[in-house]
């Protein structure tokens, strides 16, 4: 009589246990990756919202923007300003909070002016060798609300949302400038 080699119950149980552990590990990895992908997706949505809001500010009337912030103190807006929607907005399943900080920005410019008075008598407007520039570089180019009115508005847009699983606040922001070119 010959003995046939078979699979014992212990061997089967061990194999089953190993398979369960491997499948659980891989499903954990996939779940972690999926959560990460969703987190990235929310980040991309936040960046798109940030870009869209800032672009709206950049094409808005600079005169109206300057009028919205009369003083030199930065003003925070959480509701619509100059027709640009701000505040809470729902994108997919995530609620984003969009706000903006506007502040009048002082800028000063300096140049070296052509000085006709000290230029030689043979001054020729087409010949730079006869030109003399002023020693001073302090021209009237100070847009500070005193010498000249403010023309530049600093815009900071902030987009915030909460990651549900970790209950963690996330935030992206951008800065740009709007300039009033009206004569």
């Amino acid at each position: 009589m010959t003995e046939k080699a078979g699979t014992t119950l212990i061997e089967l149980i061990l194999a089953f246990l190993i398979l369960v552990i491997a499948i659980l590990s891989v499903s954990g990895l996939i779940s972690f990756g999926h959560r990460g992908t969703q987190k990235d997706f929310r980040m991309v949505q936040g960046i798109q919202l940030l870009q869209d809001t800032m672009n709206r500010f950049l094409v808005a009337s600079s005169t109206q923007l300057l009028a919205a912030v009369p003083g030199t103190t930065p003003a925070t807006f959480t509701t619509a300003v100059v027709g640009i929607p701000l505040g809470k907005t729902q994108v997919g399943t995530t609620e984003y909070s969009v706000s903006a900080v506007l502040s009048r920005q002082t800028v000063s410019f300096s140049t070296r002016e052509l000085d006709i008075v000290t230029s030689p008598p043979d001054y020729d407007k087409n010949d730079p060798s006869t030109w003399r520039f002023s020693a001073s570089t302090n021209r009237n180019g100070q847009f500070d609300g005193v010498s000249l009115p403010h023309r530049v508005m600093k815009i900071q847009v902030i987009v915030e949302w909460t990651e549900m699983l970790q209950n963690m606040k996330r935030r992206v922001d951008a800065v740009s400038f709007a300039v009033d070119f009206t004569p």
Binding site: L29, V107, T111, R112, S129, F133, V152, S176
Partner: protein, 161 residues
């Protein structure tokens, strides 16, 4: 035999899981770069407007500075010129607000450095000029320097007194 088969399957699953995790971890930094790029784009757009404000405020100083610079770069004309230090064009484009020199201007963004340069591209035959305003901007988190160029078309009109 069952153990060998299960171990092989488990190993294959783990290899697949690791490669998935690896792919995922490589795609994550892209978002950070994307945000930085958007921040740089918007910032440069604003800085170009400030630079344009300067040109609109002092167009005559810009043209004089540029024509003097053209002569300065010509080895024949250079000895006849008065040697300014710094040259008028260098003064024109050296404002702190155009060159990373104003504290807190970019807050809360993290900007490593930025510079602004003006160039005059003349079309003498048509009395037309293009003013090119270039911003070189480098954010702190990456070593990439972004260059943004804005060209403004202008017509030269001589007013005779």
């Amino acid at each position: 035999m069952a153990l060998v088969i299960v171990l092989a399957i488990a190993m294959a699953l783990l290899v697949m899981g690791t490669s998935y995790l690896n792919t995922f971890s490589q795609s994550r930094p892209v978002n950070v770069k994307l945000l930085e790029r958007v921040q740089a784009d918007l910032l440069a757009s604003g800085l170009q407007k400030i630079a344009l404000l300067k040109f609109k405020r002092f167009p005559e100083d810009f043209y004089h500075a540029c024509f003097f610079q053209f002569a300065w770069e010509d080895p024949v004309k250079r000895p006849t010129l008065f040697a300014y230090n710094p040259l008028p064009l260098a003064v024109f484009q050296s404002d702190p607000v155009l060159n990373n020199g104003v504290a807190g201007l970019m807050d809360p963004l993290s900007v490593f450095s930025y510079t602004t340069t003006y160039r005059l591209l003349s079309h003498k035959a048509y009395t037309r000029d293009a003013v090119e305003i270039a911003i070189n901007l480098r954010m702190t988190s990456t070593s990439a320097t972004y260059t943004y160029s804005l060209k403004v078309d202008a017509e030269r009109v001589y007013v005779t007194p």
